[in-house]
Amino acid sequence: MESSEIMRQVDDLHTRYIRIIDDERWEEWPHLFTESCLYKIITRENFDQGLPLSVMECQSRGMLTDRVTGLRTINVYEPHRYLHQISGLAIEHIDGHTARCRSNYLVIRTMLDGAMSVFSAGVYLDQIVLGPGKPLFKERVVVADSRRIETLLVFPL
């Protein structure tokens, strides 16, 4: 594939990702990942010290699905929405069919009463498997700049 086409596909995957989350079409979210995958949210405090603890860590597409079950039917929380911004997306390395990518994300959270806040900001460290079909995340590690979470985190970032 040409590099501009790869970039286009990767960019498109990112657009679909934020669209699905920000539109709360949670059920589609696991399908942006390969069956065997890693999705992990870790704070920079732990990441930089080499501490393995994450805020959320899904080691299979099943675990992604379970997070959707959690937020749909299990957990108690106040309804809210995310709004993503992404900048600085770059493909850092391509190895066969896998692209290692990186980007800056920002999530604004809006609560029921309208309160908005900068909920999370940081980087996406991705491994993306390129097509024949649409590209999929093999790995997405979300490194959040802030060491703390306001109230709770129930939606993936």
Partner: protein, 406 residues
């Protein structure tokens, strides 16, 4: 100032959750009063010169291991003009040098150097009678139990072990029976008074109802063997259950919202557990007055410390650990199960919001009313078998009333 309802500890007036004067009194009478405040873990201070910053109520605290290997604590405030000496969560230092005018303290808080003490070229400097020994950092008395470091401003509080009592120390021995390894930290701001979180942490009643995950996937139900232990007049408590003893019934079909029917886990490996402790206890929450929680949920182990941030806000600091001798499989299991806890945990997500909903619920006319805690009676007793009780909460309010003199 604060008059308590005639019913006693089965009531708690909501006013204590928002009044700024009561908050200020709590700082004086509770956090700086005759209590032992959990500060950090010895494991976080591996070597001479290791330090951690933490807090006792509103007061910033510095804990350090000195050259002799002993651990001490002091207020993180320069004796000159008050600047914080360290802002990082932790690290290693030879001594503490204040950024403002370079006053330097040794690891025990003794003042050992004052920049330009003798002036420059014979002029200026400190008065001849200025005595370094009189200007050390404000010291905080510390004591450790099984690797947990506690501190107090009080000279009259009983020794730490007596303060905790035999049931509490036994449980700490159970968990901290071998060297631990820290797996990471969580920090979580809560839009509620610190006491709403401490109540929550020791409330067996909510555990299997609010936390649908517990009941739905049978991690914790009241229809398991379990119990609550209260001690030191209920200041401290443990709430525990034994997963292997589950009896069906009492949840299904009762209309209690806490069991979601027809839901399964696509990847049930999340809730595979290893029976680590011989007593069969699979979930145990120990709550130590005033601000510490020691948690075992399956194979996740954590200490939690609540930091008050004014009457309406607080921050919960989580230290997640395993043991140093965990094999890779057990370590991996702990990390996978960490999906259950923290600000994004299947179980503890719910606790993130519930305190805020109480805080907002008790606004306005709430200042005239009180929480009602009569589940399991109106006294403060340990029970084995049943956890349908709020004795642990009555115990908390007993401690609160003792100290606040109300």
């Amino acid at each position: 100032m604060l008059e308590w309802p005639a019913e006693g500890v089965s009531r708690a007036p909501y006013r204590v959750m928002s009044d700024p004067e009561i908050y200020a009194q709590e700082q004086e009478r509770i956090f700086r009063g005759p209590v032992w405040n959990y500060l950090c873990l010895e494991a976080e201070l591996p070597e001479p010169g290791s330090f951690r910053t933490t807090s006792i109520g509103d007061t910033p605290i510095l804990v350090a291991r000195n050259k002799d290997g002993a651990i001490g604590a002091m207020v993180n405030r320069c004796a000159h003009k008050g600047a914080m000496l360290c802002v990082e969560a932790g690290g290693k230092r030879q001594h503490f040098t204040c950024p403002y005018h370079n006053w330097t303290y040794d690891l025990t808080g003794e003042l050992c150097g004052v920049a330009f003490q003798h002036g420059v070229g014979g002029q200026g400097g400190m008065p001849k009678d200025f005595d370094l020994a009189q200007h050390g950092l404000e010291r905080v008395r510390t004591a450790s139990y099984q690797g947990l470091v506690f501190g107090t401003f009080s000279s009259s509080v009983e020794p730490l072990e007596t303060y905790l009592g035999p049931g509490m120390t036994a449980h700490l021995q159970r968990v901290f029976h071998k060297p631990i390894a820290i797996l990471g930290y969580h920090h979580q701001t809560l839009e509620n008074n610190w006491k709403l979180y401490m109540e929550n942490s020791r409330d067996p009643y909510h555990a299997t109802i609010l936390h649908t995950f517990y009941a739905t996937f049978k991690l914790n139900r009241l229809t398991m063997d379990g119990g609550i232990t209260v001690e030191h007049g209920g200041w401290h408590s443990i709430n525990y259950s034994k997963g292997a003893t589950l009896r069906e019934g009492s949840y299904e079909g009762t209309g209690i919202r806490s069991v979601v029917e027809g839901v399964g886990l696509a990847d049930p490996s999340l809730i595979e557990r290893k029976q680590e402790f011989e007593d069969g206890i699979t979930v145990a929450i120990q709550s130590l007055f005033p601000s510490c929680v020691n948690q075992q949920i399956y194979n996740t182990l954590a200490l939690r410390r609540i930091e008050p941030l004014g009457p309406l806000r607080s921050e919960l600091h989580w230290t997640i650990f395993g043991y140093r001798d965990d094999d890779p499989a057990l370590r991996a299991m702990r990390l996978k199960q960490s999906n259950l806890i923290g600000p994004g945990g299947y179980v503890s997500i719910d606790d993130g919001v519930i305190g805020e909903w109480v805080q907002r619920g008790i606004a306005g006319s709430g200042a005239h009313s009180s929480a009602v805690m009569e589940m399991g009676g109106r006294d403060i007793v340990s029970t084995t078998g049943s956890r349908a009780t709020e004795a642990t909460l009555r115990g908390f309010w007993n401690g609160y009333r003792n100290l606040m003199d109300c």
